[in-house]
Amino acid sequence: MSNLSEFLHMGGYAFYIWWSYGIVAAVLIGNIITAAYRHKRLLRHLQRQQAREQSQSASTVA
């Protein structure tokens, strides 16, 4: 346990090191999430659009 707290202490530089790594980790994860989310959202949008067009063309035929 003392090993862990020593590790987290980082020789007195804990604040600078963990903020650096934390911010970079957040930026990386944020990049992955936005990229994946944008793709999903677009696919959902296109799906709805296609379904709407199909129902429209079906109703004009009828």
């Binding site: 600078y16 650096s20 970079v24 990049n31 992955i32 296109l46």
Partner: protein, 249 residues
């Protein structure tokens, strides 16, 4: 040989081909990125010894330097795709240029913020108007300017041309950032790794640094392909191949 590359480039630049190949590449690149990053972090935190001058604080270098390198690499890559888009009118090149911009901005931001967090205990200040720091800040504004310009122009082709031209104009900043530590001898230190004689860094620190640099580069390739796929899908939404993909889901 050249002809083979040329035909491959044209095939790769065809939207449906790119979409499917990029989709297959993304998980592999992402997996390789995770492995390299895990190895780099392990060696960087548990194997590399504390620095004899900077103590533990130098461990910020393992993300600061790769982020700074990548911020320059992405911009250079964007300048190349911008030129390709302008000269040969390859639409995929425009897609890559605009897809890379937010990732470039992210890593420039990371380089600046980790530099500030390292500078405070080492230099005694978060920020100075040093040549390296200032030119890197200009790089961030260039990325943000490119994103804003793209968002401000409705017509896709006009937007792509404007973005390409702005990217190419801004490329003068890249050698300025690179040589700033030699041209203006202010606060930021000179290069440690890329100078021509032996690097002045111990192998136990160099290996995790290079692993992290590789991991960041793989991260860029992963996310730029993810974003480019979305962009291609949106641009091609009227074409039959996109309709097939959407219908088969």
């Amino acid at each position: 040989m050249l002809r083979a590359i040329w035909t491959w480039m044209h095939r790769f630049a065809s939207p449906p081909y790119f979409y499917s190949v990029a989709g297959k590449l993304v998980p592999w690149l992402g997996g390789a990125c995770a492995v390299a990053m895990a190895a780099g972090l392990y060696l960087g935190f548990f194997v590399a010894p504390p620095d004899y001058q900077q103590g533990e604080s130098y461990r910020i270098i393992f993300i600061h330097v790769p982020a700074a390198w990548l911020s320059l690499f992405i911009y250079t890559a964007m300048a190349i795709t911008a030129a390709i888009g302008l000269i040969w009118r390859i639409k995929l090149a425009d897609v890559i240029t605009i897809s890379a911009a937010p990732i470039g901005a992210s890593f420039t931001f990371c380089a600046l913020i980790t530099g500030a967090l390292w500078g405070k205990p080492m230099w005694g200040t978060y920020w100075v108007w040093d040549a390296r720091l200032t030119s890197e800040l200009i790089l961030l504004f260039l990325y943000l300017g490119i994103i804003a310009l793209h968002g401000a122009i409705e017509d896709r082709r006009v937007a792509a041309r404007a973005v390409s031209i702005l990217t190419l104009v801004g490329v003068v900043n890249i050698p300025i950032i690179h040589y700033s530590v030699e041209w203006w001898n202010t606060l930021h230190q000179g290069p440690t790794i890329t100078k021509f004689d032996a690097p002045s860094i111990h192998l136990s620190m160099l290996i995790p640094l290079l692993l992290m640099a590789g991991a960041f580069k793989l991260f860029f390739f992963t996310t730029v392909l993810m974003r480019a796929r979305t962009e291609v899908l949106e641009r091609e939404q009227r074409s039959a191949w996109v309709r097939d993909i959407v219908a088969s889901r």
